[in-house]
Amino acid sequence: MAERLLEVKDLSTQFFTHAGIVKAVNGVSFTLDRNETIGIVGESGSGKTVAALSLMRLIPDPPGKVVEGSLMLGDRNLRTISDDEMRAVRGNDIAMIFQDPMTSLNPVMKIGKQIGEAITLHQDKSKREAWKMAIDLLARVGIPDAPKRVDQYPFEFSGGMRQRAMIAMAISCNPDILIADEPTTALDVTIQAQIIDVVREMQAQFNSGVILITHDLGVIAEIADKVMVMYGGRTVEYGPVDEIFYNAHHPYTWGLLASLPRLDASEKERLTPIKGQPPNLITLPAGCPFTVRCPYRRAECRDTWPELEIVGAEHGVHCWVPEEERQGLRVQLPHFKESVL
């Protein structure tokens, strides 16, 4: 049995704004085991980043608040432990890397000092030792000429190097869990390939669990073991990566897969977009947030959120369309025609 690192149950995070209550995350549950990579996929406003920030207790309060749920890291609930304990969790147990490495590094502090700061804060090391460790870490994430680079400022680093430096900082205290929020979105593809390799190597070395947040299904296909698909603050479907790509059950997941132009497409085919506009998080219906854009919506969809339905091993979906009907619909979709198992 794999070692369970994290168990999130019914997480709900809301922002109380003048315009109304934004239900950014709405009853999200998932687990993470050691050596496992979970991909959280969704479009802007789906709540994937807010879910991660809620875990790190980094939601600005006010206006934001985790209103419900338990976030169990082993036997500690991250929602209820003290601020001091939480500070120790960040970095030691869970570390996070962000999309934009330029704004998440301090521009007037040398790289070595920034990494060293994380080390001296959590470990009993002198500044000199921390500096030495920073050099070692930079070398491990593949930064050439680390002894010289450690003495430089972020502006002297390229985008890919900055992201490597962020990863070095994140792994400095051997965290069990690494949260990567769109780590390669701001990077060019050849650099993205390098960074994905680094994340993989680091995971293998430290046996960590990785939570990868991205809108890029290609990246998900490449490194995730299991996938959670989010829309309008809800998890609409989750499952092992192959199940999500070849045996998806939710119309939104179908829509996402069908709307992608693919590099390996042999013929030029017309894309099938999802109709309509992204949801307004203030005026979400009580039921399924995808209702208005869903081609298969039914009477009950708008007002009642469907219960979780288990459709396979570790594979669950929230959808009112009955299972048999979904099977029939899925095989008609162009994306699944070829790839039906």
Binding site: S158, V189, T190, I191, A193, D216, D264, A265, Q277, P278
Partner: protein, 350 residues
């Protein structure tokens, strides 16, 4: 005759330093780029940041003056056109920008934004312009009522539709699309790509599609030019380029794109390029790609190879590559010759 002929286009930006703002160096953003665009086709310009693809688009429109070279649009030299000629040219050549938030004036109503070009070019009466704007909004999938609103009331995808309506207002022949879907979510991206394809058919448009996203470029383009550090390193029909890339940079770029299919991903071999793209202010001597190239040899450090067709391969004359050691495909078999490709050697000046 081609609709657009770009010859040896160069755009160098000065680097100014010190109090006196003296020029201490140059950024070679676009450095000797030549290609033709045929009427009705979509040509994709693809590459990583710093490759110069957006600068090509802007220089072709003379939104920024070129340092050298020529751009001929239907027999008129864009670079030398007088002010009044340029105004006429701009009717035929339009642009859609990447950032749908920054490219629409937040204080103007949509009706005014879309109709502005009609007003500047003094087309029609007030009432006629109003009808035309409503028509344009409907063409891009919005409604006439949307015209009374302001940009902040729209989502990213809708704003990009407004940007497209504005570009269509003067019935242009060529539209330069500069990363038009990069800021959009996947589900919305597909809507806008389909819209562009429909508009191209309906209005007989020619597109120059600039993007870093290889999957999107492959989907929309008939021909693709791959740029690296201000140069075109390979250009070909889209399908040929993606199936049989000859330049090592194209190969690496294609292999780096993750494909949304776990089975395919597990069986793929990825070429991971070392290091970063060098600064265009200080491009490498010789072939611009040689410091990162897995195939680089001595000769690659001497001079930039010429962009030429590789004869004897399946690809044909339309497939050109700037490499001394291109991959060649004969009868589906890939091979790389040991001896440098002679045609790519720089020619003596005569």
């Amino acid at each position: 005759m081609s609709l657009l002929e770009v010859r040896d286009l160069k755009k160098h930006f000065p680097i100014r330093t010190g109090v006196l703002k003296r020029t201490t160096g140059w950024v070679y953003a676009v450095d000797g780029v030549s290609f033709d665009v045929e009427k009705g086709e979509t040509i994709g310009l693809v590459g990583e940041s710093g490759g110069g693809k957006s600068t090509v688009g802007r220089t072709v429109l003379r939104l920024t003056p070129a340092t050298g070279g020529s751009v001929i649009f239907e027999d008129i030299d864009v670079m030398k056109a007088s002010h009044s000629d340029l105004k006429k040219l701009r009717r035929d050549m339009q642009i859609v920008f990447q950032d749908p938030y920054a490219s629409l004036n937040p204080r103007m109503r949509i009706r005014a934004i879309v109709g502005e070009a009609l007003k500047i070019h003094d087309i029609g009466t007030e009432a006629e312009r109003k009808t035309r704007v409503s028509e344009l909004l409907e063409t891009v999938g919005l409604t006439a009522e949307h015209g009374e609103r302001y940009p902040h009331e729209f989502s990213g995808g809708q704003r990009q539709r407004i940007g497209i309506a504005r570009a269509l207002a003067l019935n242009p022949k060529l539209i330069i699309l500069d990363e038009p879907v990069s800021a959009l979510d996947v589900s919305i991206r597909a809507q806008v790509l389909n819209l562009l394809e429909d508009l191209q058919d309906e209005f007989d448009l020619t597109f120059m599609f600039v993007s870093h996203d290889l999957s999107v470029v492959k989907h929309i383009s008939d021909r693709v030019a791959v740029m690296y550090l201000g140069k075109i390193v390979e250009i070909s029909d889209s399908k040929v380029l993606y199936d049989h890339p000859q330049h090592p940079y194209t190969e690496a770029l294609l292999s780096a794109v993750p494909i949304p299919d776990p089975h395919t991903e597990r069986s793929r071999r990825r070429i991971v390029l070392e290091g970063d793209v060098p600064s265009p202010a200080n491009p490498p001597k010789g072939c611009v790609f040689h410091p990162r190239c897995p195939r680089a040899q001595e000769i690659c450090t001497t001079a930039m190879p010429r962009l030429v067709a590789t004869p004897g391969a399946d690809a044909g004359e339309r497939h050109q590559v700037a490499c001394y050691f291109p991959a060649r495909f004969t009868g589906g078999q890939r091979r790389v010759d040991d001896a440098p490709f002679k045609d790519a050697l720089p020619q003596e000046q005569d």
